[in-house]
Amino acid sequence: MTTAESVNPAVDVAETPLLAKVGGQPFTKIPHDLYIPPDALEVFLEAFEGPLDLLLYLIQRQNLNILDIPIADITRQYMEYLALMQELRLELAAEYLVMAAWLAEIKSRLLLPRPATAEAEELDPRAELVRRLQEYERFQQAARTLDTLPRLERDLFTASAEPVYRDLVRTPPPVNLADLLDALREVMNRAELFTRHPIQREALSVRERMSQVLEQLDVLRFTAFTSLFRPEEGRRGLVVTFMAILELLREALLELVQTEPFAPIHVRRRS
């Protein structure tokens, strides 16, 4: 850490009276050094985002590299801030106390002679703290960078023009042939159930059908032969219609026209 850039505006306020201390010079009793009105102090202390943030602040304020942490000094300063917070009855997150214990542990381990045998594996007791501080510092930086990215609604604005002439377009649902067949099968099966009731069908009369066919025909226009048949009537109905047509033909009431072999047959009423 080489910059003395402050962490946030709230810290700025407090930083000025403390700037005299540089380069790890011992820190005297905090309350006497802090020329901060009690209200502002509270805001200042509340501005910390946890113990790592407070530690980083203490380190950065003294223009120290994280690797140069004077553990004894920083620990003392940290404890003094903690005491201050407690004095101000600020609710302390448990993490602050955990950090205090950790700092004390590091400090005591640094004071003890290291056993020569464990030399290879054992790292400096500060290493883990330094790692955590560095990691947190990276994301503090990332958060600041993120905040400076051009952001919608603050720096950039979606450009739009009203689509006043917009109509509601609905895409009809897709249908596949299999669904259609399923539906038909189902309805036919159901229809069978209905027809199972013994309903006496009136016998289809060829005579009646003859007049029906005739009614459908026109003197002027040809009608498609096939259109005279109603498949829903079943075979019976089709045959009756066919016989009616033959009978009408015999009686010369209609004429059939087919322009060429296999072409559609058309029917017209004879005048």
């Binding site: 604005f157 689509p163 609905r170 067949l181 296999f262």
Partner: protein
């Protein structure tokens, strides 16, 4: 400060709604605030610059607004195409009956289905362009006769109604067979042998 005309463009685009002259004025710090005439002139300039573009500047009751001109509405409308919910069973049955039994009246469909067919189903299928009225049955009430359209065949990738798959169930086959025969077999086959059971 950007050119007034361009700044007004940015303001109107960002607003996305009509903005009054007063509201436009208020976006300037007092010391730099242009007068109303300057804004009006710039707006006129801006409006003229949109000739042949994808937007137009209009003054409506609640202020100045950028809008997408009418000629673009067919494309713009399709931006929000809503996929309708899939068809109901009733719609599919109705469509299937029309396809396999055309021409058919609504009453005949109802007879087979055993329930009434709602007007909205017939309307939906007609709006989709899949069925149409091809005439009226010469019976009392002159009910409309429905048939499927070319669009229906196109949608299902069929060359003709004859390409509709036959139904597997034997009972149904007779019905469908009759429907298909009506269109294809009848004219060229001997009805005497085709219909032995009458």
């Amino acid at each position: 400060m950007p050119e007034l005309k361009i700044l007004l463009e940015a303001l109107l685009l960002a607003a996305g709604e009509p903005v009054t002259l007063e509201r436009l004025l208020e976006t300037f710090p007092e010391a730099e605030r242009p007068d109303r005439d300057a804004i009006r002139t710039a707006l006129v300039d801006l409006a003229a610059s949109y000739a042949g573009r994808g937007m137009e500047l209009v003054e409506v009751a609640s202020g100045f607004r950028l809008q997408v001109p009418k000629p673009f509405s067919p494309w713009v409308s399709r931006l929000w195409e809503e996929r309708a919910a899939s068809y109901s069973r009733a719609s599919l049955e109705t469509l299937a009956l029309i396809a396999y039994r055309q021409p058919i009246t609504r009453g005949e469909i109802e007879e087979v289905r055993g329930v009434s067919v709602s007007t909205s189903i017939m309307k939906t299928l007609q709006e989709r362009g899949w069925i149409k009225i091809i005439g009226h049955r010469e019976v009392p009430g002159h009910p409309a006769l429905y048939a499927t359209t070319r669009a229906f065949l196109d949608y299902f990738n069929l060359k003709s109604l004859g390409d509709l798959p036959p139904l597997a169930a034997p009972r149904d086959l007779a019905a469908i067979g009759a429907a298909l025969e009506e269109r294809t077999a009848l004219p060229d086959s001997s009805p005497q042998t085709e219909f032995p059971d009458v």
